[in-house]
Each structure stands twice: as C-alpha cells, then as structure tokens.
Amino acid sequence: MKCQLCSNPATVHLTDIVDMQKKELHLCQSCAEQHQLIKKQELNLPAILKSLIGQHIGQQTDELARLTCPACGIKYMEFRAQGRLGCPYDYVVFRDGLAPLMQRIHRSDHHVGKAPQRSVLPAEQQAKLVELRRRLQNAIDRENYEEAAHLRDMLRNKGSHG
C-alpha cells in the first residue's frame, strides 16, 4: 500500500470514526510526522525486542505448561509457581524453559568449573531411580506392601546410588 500523500510505502495506518463513518488514512512515516499525526520518535529497539521475546516465551509456555516430569511428577507450572524443581531430571524435561531462565539469571547456560571425578550417573538412570522411589512411596501410601516390596527389590538391584 502506498502513502495517500506521496508515493512512498505506507507504514502508518490510522482509523478514525467520524459521524458513524469509518475513515482510514494510510501514510508513510515522514508524511504522518509532517502532519503531526504521530509524534516524531526514534525507533525504540529495546521495547520492540521485549515484545518479541514476550511473544516467543508466550508460545513456548503453552507447550511447556503441559509438561510433567516422568520421574518426580512435578508439572512445569508447579515449578514456575514455587520456583523450586522436583528432581535432577527436571533439568532435562524442562530444558527449553530453563535455558532462557538460566541466561537471564546467570547470563550463561552452561557449566564451567569443578566436576565429579568419578563417572556421573546418566540422566535417564537418575530419572529411573527417582521414578521407582516415587512409585514405592505411592505403594506405601496405598498400603500395597506386595508392590512396595517388589519396587524395593528393583531399587536394590539397581545399586544403592546414594
């Protein structure tokens, strides 16, 4: 669409209702400024960036909002409300939500520094153990002692990863 006053591309679109009649005005930035229809202003990059990020996170949150950790059972929204994660495996499950958060808090998203000298338990194995413990607790709560004994054996067989 072209500016109604000159032939530059129209970037300012004004709609006004006068006497129940809709009037539209399509102008380029400089004509609009010349006629004092908009305030002359510098491009506010930070504000634009912020709104873009907001939209981006908004979309992400929709997907994240549905996430639940299979190991400890915490929902992403519970984490957002409490600010505390439920188990180590959440760092894998909620990774997409956590990475931007880390960037904001720490201005970094990866660890530098000390690491355990002996081999680290793979994340999936950690998750399995946390999950077994949760099922064990549920079985105890339901007074299903047969299942509890079975789960306890499974945990024992996986080694006592204290």
Partner: protein
C-alpha cells in the same frame, strides 16, 4: 555434641584474627549438592527424607576428617538450641524452621558444617576468621572431594551440579565475605559501593543473610552467579573488589578522625559508657554500640578492652545465647534487662583487667 559449651566462646567466624581482621570479620563458602537418585528435598516424602538423612549421615561419619564431625538431628533440638545454631551461623533459618527429618554435621571448632535436607540434600559450609577465602575454598573443596567418593551427586555436563533452585545451579557455590564498615556507613559512601557491586553481580546482605538488616554495620558480600563461571573465577572476582572496599573504609576512618576527632571520640565514648551502665538494652542497640566500640579499639581510641572480647559480646548478647548463659528462658523485656546486666558485668571485668 554439647551445645551449652558453645555459648562461652565466640566461634570461628568471630575469632577476630586472620588477614585484614580489623575490617574483614570472616570468609565463608557454601556448596549446594544433591543425591542423583532422589527427588529434591521439597518434593521428597518424609520417608525419603529420612532415607536421605541416614544415608548422608552414615557417609559423612566415615569421612576421614580430624577431628570427626558430630551430627545433630534438628527436630530433636529445642527451639532455643536451633536458634543458637542460627545465631552462630552454623545452620540456616530455613533448616531451623523446616519440617521433617533434617540435621547438621559440625566440626568442633565450628569451621565446617554440613546441613542435610535443607533446600538441597546437602549444603556444605566452611567458615574462617578474616579475609581467607582461598583457605576456605581449599578446605571445602577437599571435603567435597571426599564426599564425592562416597555418594553419587546429581550432576550434568551441561548445567553442572543440579540444585532445587536454578539460581544455585552450576558450581552450587556461594562465597561471601563479612565486612565491618561503620565509617563508610557514616559517610553514606556505602550506597556507592553497593551500586558498584551490583553492577558486577555481587550481592550485599546484612549479618544474617537474605532479607536481614545490616545491624552492627556488618555487611556480607557474595556472588550471585553460579553458572558459567568456575569456582576460582568467582573467587577472583570477589578477591578483586574486597581490597578496594577495605581501602575505602580505612580512608573514611582516617578522614573521620582528621575532620572530627572529638566528635568521633565522643560517639565512641558514649557508646562504651552506655554499654557499661544501661539497665535495659535491645539486641539491635547493643549491635550498634558494640560496633562503635569495635571501631574505637581499631582506631586506638578505646584501650581497655580487646577485639576478641567485643566479638564475643556480639554473639553472646543475641537472644538464644543470652538465654543459654542466664540458664532460663526470658521474654523480651526480661531479655533486655538481662542483656544490659550481662554487658555491664563483662565490660567491668574487661576494664578492670585489660588483656
């Protein structure tokens, strides 16, 4: 472990010795660690917490540390004992007031404390008198290495040591230095120092950590970022700024003396006089007045008592310590009277027999 014996000493962090100890009270480092195979504390059932506690308690007991650490189960402690440990900075307020199985392993000299089932399964802490971050780091690093041989920590290559709160993830390290800055507070330059520190992501807190007031002109400076910087990188950042703050405080003290020696002398003498003769004294006022006496000793304006005595009084006039010393529980008013009485006695003794 006999907690009553603690009340007679000032503990490690108020020993009043070590490098720059006229201004730097203590250096402290804590590491947050979690067991890989358990849910974090806030999501653990009481049974799981008790499993975590007995596992860690047993592994900690086997550590090759001399002297051995003593273990205290927090739920079995009276509320007065818990408060005593908080006042000595051996446990956090959170651990004191949380629910469920939890505890702390302590070294007798109070330099090492390991909290179990705080926000993270394990919070290691090393505390030392004076500006001694490097020594504190060496000690905590060693304890952490020893523990790591016996327990499987939650760790990922990407995010480092995994913690319940993402603000601690990575190194899990919080290093802090406690400073006594009465002159910078007097000249209001302290605000400028804070703003400069915030710009480089260092936090400033009061004596008892988050949300507490800077009573007694004590300030804790610590790192906020734990991810993306190595332990030594973080320590170097703190090391980079503390000498400057020490220099500013010394300069502020010198110009205070130069510009208004009589006014400063009067302030300090009044503080000392009030402590020696008042009959009611709140904890807050005691901290404020002792702070001026401490400044006076450092500036050689007070001769008849020593820094270790003042440091002891800082801790012994805290509510739980005071009630332990008196041997009975006291309400607010009674406590203020007992505090004033205790201060009078101690300062008279010290004044009569200068060390």
């Amino acid at each position: 472990m006999n907690l009553d014996s603690l009340t007679h000493t000032s503990g490690e962090w108020l020993r009043g010795s070590g490098p720059e100890s006229d201004i730097v009270i203590s250096s402290r480092i804590r590491l947050a660690r979690n067991l890989a195979a358990f849910p974090f504390t806030n999501r653990a059932s009481s049974g799981q917490k008790s499993e975590i506690e007995s596992l860690l308690r047993e592994r900690v007991a086997r550590l090759d540390l001399e002297p051995r650490l003593g273990y205290l189960s927090v739920p079995t402690l009276s509320s007065l004992d818990r408060q005593l440990l908080v006042e000595r900075q051996l446990i956090s307020r959170e651990l004191a007031s949380a629910d469920g199985p939890r505890g702390v392993a302590l070294a007798p000299q109070e330099r090492v404390s390991l909290m179990v089932n705080e926000e993270d399964h394990l919070r290691l802490q090393v505390m030392r008198s004076g500006f001694t971050l490097d020594e504190a780091w060496q000690e905590i690093d060693r304890v952490d290495d020893m523990l790591e041989q016996r327990v499987t920590y939650a760790f990922s290559e990407e995010f480092g040591y995994l913690t319940a709160c993402p603000t601690n993830v990575g190194t899990g390290m919080r290093a802090s230095v406690m400073l006594h800055l009465p002159a910078l507070e007097h000249t209001k330059q302290i605000e400028k120092v804070f703003r400069a520190l915030q710009k480089i992501n260092l936090a400033v807190r009061g004596l008892y950590g988050e949300g507490s007031r800077a009573s007694g002109h004590f300030y804790q400076i610590s790192n906020q970022v734990t991810l993306g910087k190595s332990e030594t990188g973080i320590l170097n950042e703190i090391h980079g700024v503390i000498p400057n703050i020490i220099t500013y405080e010394r300069q502020a003290r010198t110009s205070w003396l130069r510009d208004n020696r009589q006014g400063l002398q009067d302030k300090i003498s009044r503080a000392y006089g009030t402590l020696c003769s008042a009959t009611m004294m709140t904890s807050e006022e005691t901290m404020e007045l002792l702070s001026f006496v401490r400044l006076g000793i450092n500036l050689h304006l007070v001769e008849d008592i020593t820094i270790p005595t003042v440091n002891e009084l800082f801790i012994q006039t805290q509510p739980a310590h005071l009630q332990k010393i008196v041997g009975t529980s006291l309400d607010g008013e009674e406590r203020n009277a007992a505090r004033a009485r205790y201060l009078r006695t101690r300062l008279r003794e010290a004044g009569a027999h200068p060390n």
